[in-house]
């Protein structure tokens, strides 16, 4: 057996393993990126969307943020569509919010990641805020 064969066996073996890992990794963790309008429209046509990982970007509805500290920290707020503020949905999040998060006039843009429950509440596992290009030098606030 010559060297090329040995090299190739190793190469093919590792490539196969890496490909397998990437394939399963992608299918397990892929999330769809939607706007609130897209989410609310698509979920009616396709109820399986409730079971998928989703990322939804929008804006925090003014004055909608309530921090409930009875029985552990729980944040409730609504996220509206950037273009059409009449479309919004409720979000619940049980962790610390980024410092830049608020529901004042500043119109904080957020990306919420998680699942859209059957009862129409978005259960977020992660909330990112975007400060816009002014603070381009900072990576997105990661929570």
């Amino acid at each position: 057996m010559n060297k090329n064969h040995r090299f190739l066996i190793g190469l093919v073996g590792v490539t196969a393993v890496v490909t397998y890992l990437i394939w399963t990794g992608v299918s397990k963790t892929m999330v769809y990126y939607l706007t609130p309008t897209e989410l609310l429209a698509q979920v009616i046509e396709d109820p399986t969307l409730h079971d998928l990982g989703l990322k939804v970007s929008g804006r925090v509805v003014r004055g909608s943020w309530v921090a409930d500290e009875t029985g552990g920290l729980e944040h409730h707020f609504r996220v509206e569509d950037l273009e059409d503020p009449s479309v919004s949905f409720p979000v619940v999040y049980r962790n610390l919010l980024p410092d830049t998060f608020n529901d004042s006039d500043e119109h904080v843009e957020v990306v919420v990641e998680g699942r859209f429950r059957q009862d129409g509440v978005f259960e977020a596992t992660e909330v990112l805020t975007k400060c816009g290009s002014r603070y381009e030098a900072a990576p997105e606030a990661v929570t």
């Binding site: 010559n2 060297k3 040995r6 090299f7 190793g10 190469l11 590792v14 490539t15 393993v17 890496v18 890992l21 990437i22 399963t24 990794g25 992608v26 397990k28 963790t29 892929m30 999330v31 769809y32 990126y33 939607l34 990982g53 990322k55 970007s57 921090a67 500290e69 552990g72 920290l73 962790n95 610390l96 410092d99 830049t100 998060f101 608020n102 500043e106 843009e109 990306v111 990641e113 975007k130 400060c131 816009g132 290009s133 002014r134 603070y135 381009e136 030098a137 900072a138 990576p139 997105e140 606030a141 990661v142 929570t143």
Partner: protein, 685 residues
């Protein structure tokens, strides 16, 4: 000063361009005067870029808010330290800083090779000046000129993002940039070797220290970034598989692969094409990383307005350089054939090869995950992305095999290992590894991935410890010297090998810390002053934190207000000190910023975050009733080992970098005119 700097930047561009042409023409026609002139262009460009950078720094220090860049990243109240660091605070300045560092390394490369390796130098100079010219071109013509002026001078600047006002964040980008730019030197030598056709081991010898230097800075830079995230952004996390983080990891992975595979080429004359490819790939990834961090390409898919001119220019440049490199390798393919072949799977070559494949596999997975949003959108039209879960599930198994290989590599023989060799050297370390694993299982832990990692770490650590122990003993016996002296001689006789082992110990520590992260404890609790919260450490003891209240300061120099919560800490009921965490409201930033409180010990960090003071308004006015606050308390086991491990890695790399004065010098002692037997001459004798 600043106007002079701008002028210098404009002069640097034609000088670099002209120098590029001179270098290539000089190399092609073997014109020594043109080459000398091109080398002088390198010095001139460095001088000019130093002037330009000094101009930017002067503008920052002088609060020259008529410059867009200064206005956007500074204000009058900013610390002088951060003002000076404004050079690399944003995209525009950091591109200038990048090319300044590249010019600095180019000067060092040209200067140290002014009397040797002359065959390579015309094209080395040419390649370096090409890259410099490209960056200058971007700076001047892609609307990112740091000297751009505003129509009206502003009274005050917009201030630096408070998250960037952190010591680690100030030194993190320059360190990474040093790593990125230093790798251009090996790349230039690789291309020069291809162009001149001098493809023996000489170019590898020349670039050995350069690659290690670059790798050193990349490693340290990545660790600094983690440290910053841990303190400032991450709330107890240090790695988020964010595109920017991934981009800095990619060249580190391929450079690591190269540092290993180059040893196979040196020892066994194999993998020449592979190594050439790795150098090119690593360099490409350094440019990709620069481009990704400073163009906002990936983020732009979802958020930020992007400077698409820059994205296109960078992509075009990467496309051209990669194609040219590949064509050159194909052109010289016949000269890059292997001199030996792998004899056995059970050999050090095979272990190194597997190491290379795994590192590249990880790099590919990281790359794939990073650009997945782009691919996904292009293919399906839907916006998709993968999260940290993807990176962890792909990289954890690969990383664990890699970890195990670190224990195999040092003791397995080159060429082919016999069963006896394997038995003799693996029995004890494997026993230790399995013992640690079994012990942890017996203690009741069921975090399998972490436990296997701990077991593997123990195995690798034992292998390396035994290497040091036996080596020192043998050396002491041979020399008849005391163990410390023997150890010193052992290391200095083969710095690369023993330095490498030290690096491996550091990496093992870092892996251990990663694995320990799954034992992290955290809880969120709202407290009134006087109330306390108790958290149990995975090591068995408990911490009790008692909230003492918030003290506030209004209208400090650059802050609107500052609210600091004080908590006293007791370990198993015994007071051990206190910890503070605060919220700050900077004058120039729209949201409050959290400063976390960390209490570090060798085995764990107690980490406290002031999540939200219930009613900051009342707390600020020192109303006793308004001091209710919510805290997140974490215990991060072994997290400090990342930083200690990082120090170890840096130390090991420095051992390898230290100039050696060994008995087997790299240069020949006796003078010979040329490698006379290299080419046969058509003479009949």
């Amino acid at each position: 000063m600043t106007i002079l700097g701008e002028l210098a930047l404009w002069i640097a561009f034609p000088v670099a361009l002209f120098g590029t042409v001179l270098a290539f023409v000089g190399g092609r026609q073997q014109r020594g005067d043109l080459v000398l002139s091109a080398e002088r262009a390198v010095y001139a460009v460095f001088g000019l870029l130093t002037l330009a950078s000094a101009g930017i720094v002067a503008a920052f220090l002088g609060d020259r808010f008529e410059y867009w860049y200064v206005w956007n990243y500074s204000n009058r109240e900013l610390d002088v330290f951060y003002k000076a660091a404004g050079l690399w605070a944003g995209q525009r300045g950091s591109l200038l800083f990048w090319v300044l560092l590249l010019a600095m390394f180019s000067v060092i490369a040209v200067f140290t090779n002014r009397k040797k390796n002359r065959e390579f130098m015309p094209y080395v100079t040419g390649v370096l000046l090409t890259v410099i010219t490209f960056f200058l071109c971007v700076l001047l013509f892609a609307e990112v000129n740091p000297f751009e002026q505003l129509p009206f001078a502003q009274a005050d600047g917009r201030g630096l993002n408070p998250q960037l006002q952190n010591y680690w964040m100030t030194i993190h980008p320059p360190t990474l940039y040093l790593g990125f730019t230093a790798f251009t030197i090996p790349f230039a030598f690789a291309i020069s070797a291809l162009l001149t056709g001098r493809l023996d081991s000489r170019w590898l010898v020349i670039i050995r220290k350069w690659t290690l230097l670059s790798w050193f800075f990349l490693s340290v830079g990545v660790i600094f970034g983690m440290r910053w995230a841990y303190e400032e952004l991450g709330w107890g996390g240090y790695w988020f598989w964010d595109p920017v983080e991934n981009a800095s990891l990619l060249p580190w992975l391929t450079a690591t692969a190269f540092l290993h595979s180059v040893m196979i080429q040196e020892n066994r004359g194999m993998l020449k094409v592979w190594n050439m490819g790795l150098v090119t790939l690593t360099w490409t990834l350094t440019i990709f990383a620069t481009f990704l961090t400073r163009s906002g390409l990936i983020e732009s898919v979802h958020s930020f307005a992007t400077n698409s001119t820059i994205a296109l220019i960078f992509l075009a440049f990467l496309g051209v350089t990669v194609s040219v490199s590949i064509l050159l390798i194909i052109w010289r393919y016949d000269d890059l054939k292997a001199e030996n072949e792998i004899q056995s799977f059970a050999s050090r070559e095979a272990a190194f090869l597997l190491n290379n494949l795994l590192l590249l596999g990880i790099a590919f997975a990281v790359f794939w995950g990073t650009i997945f949003p782009l691919i996904g959108e292009a293919l399906t039209g839907k916006k998709v992305s993968v999260g940290p879960g993807f990176f962890n599930s792909v990289n954890a198994p690969l990383g664990m095999v890699l970890l195990g290989l670190m224990g195999v590599g040092p003791v397995i023989a080159w060429r082919r290992a016999t069963k006896r060799n394997i038995k003799k050297n693996f029995f004890m370390p494997l026993g230790v590894g399995l013992g640690v694993f079994a012990l942890l299982v017996a203690l009741g832990s069921r975090q399998w991935m972490s436990l296997i990692t701990f077991g593997l770490s123990a195995f690798v650590f034992t292998v390396i410890a035994v290497e040091f122990f036996k080596g020192t003993k043998a050396r002491a016996r041979i020399e008849g010297s005391a163990p410390p002296t023997a150890l010193l001689h052992l290391v200095s006789r083969n710095r690369r090998r023993w330095g490498g082992y030290i690096v491996h110990v550091g990496i093992v520590m870092i892996f251990t810390a990663f694995a320990a992260a799954s034992f992290k404890m955290e809880l969120i609790q709202t407290l009134e002053p006087g109330e306390s919260v108790t958290i149990e450490s995975p090591f068995g003891h408990t911490y009790t934190l008692t909230y003492q209240g918030v003290s506030t300061a209004l209208r400090t120099r650059n802050m609107e207000w500052q609210a600091q919560a004080l908590l006293t800490v007791a370990r198993n009921g015994k007071p051990v000190g206190s910890i503070t965490t605060e919220k700050r409201m900077y004058l120039t930033y729209p949201a409050p910023v959290t400063e976390v409180g960390i209490r570090s010990t060798a085995f764990e960090d107690l980490y406290v975050i002031l999540a939200n003071a219930e009613d900051l308004g009342r707390a600020l006015s020192n109303d006793a009733g308004g001091q209710r606050a919510t805290f997140e308390v974490q215990i991060n086991p072994l997290v400090g080992w990342i930083w200690y491990g990082g120090l170890m890695v840096a130390f090991g790399a420095m051992v390898g970098l230290w100039p050696s004065k060994g008995s087997l010098a790299e240069h020949r002692s006796k003078a010979t005119p040329r490698e006379a037997t290299r080419e046969p001459v058509g003479v009949t004798v």
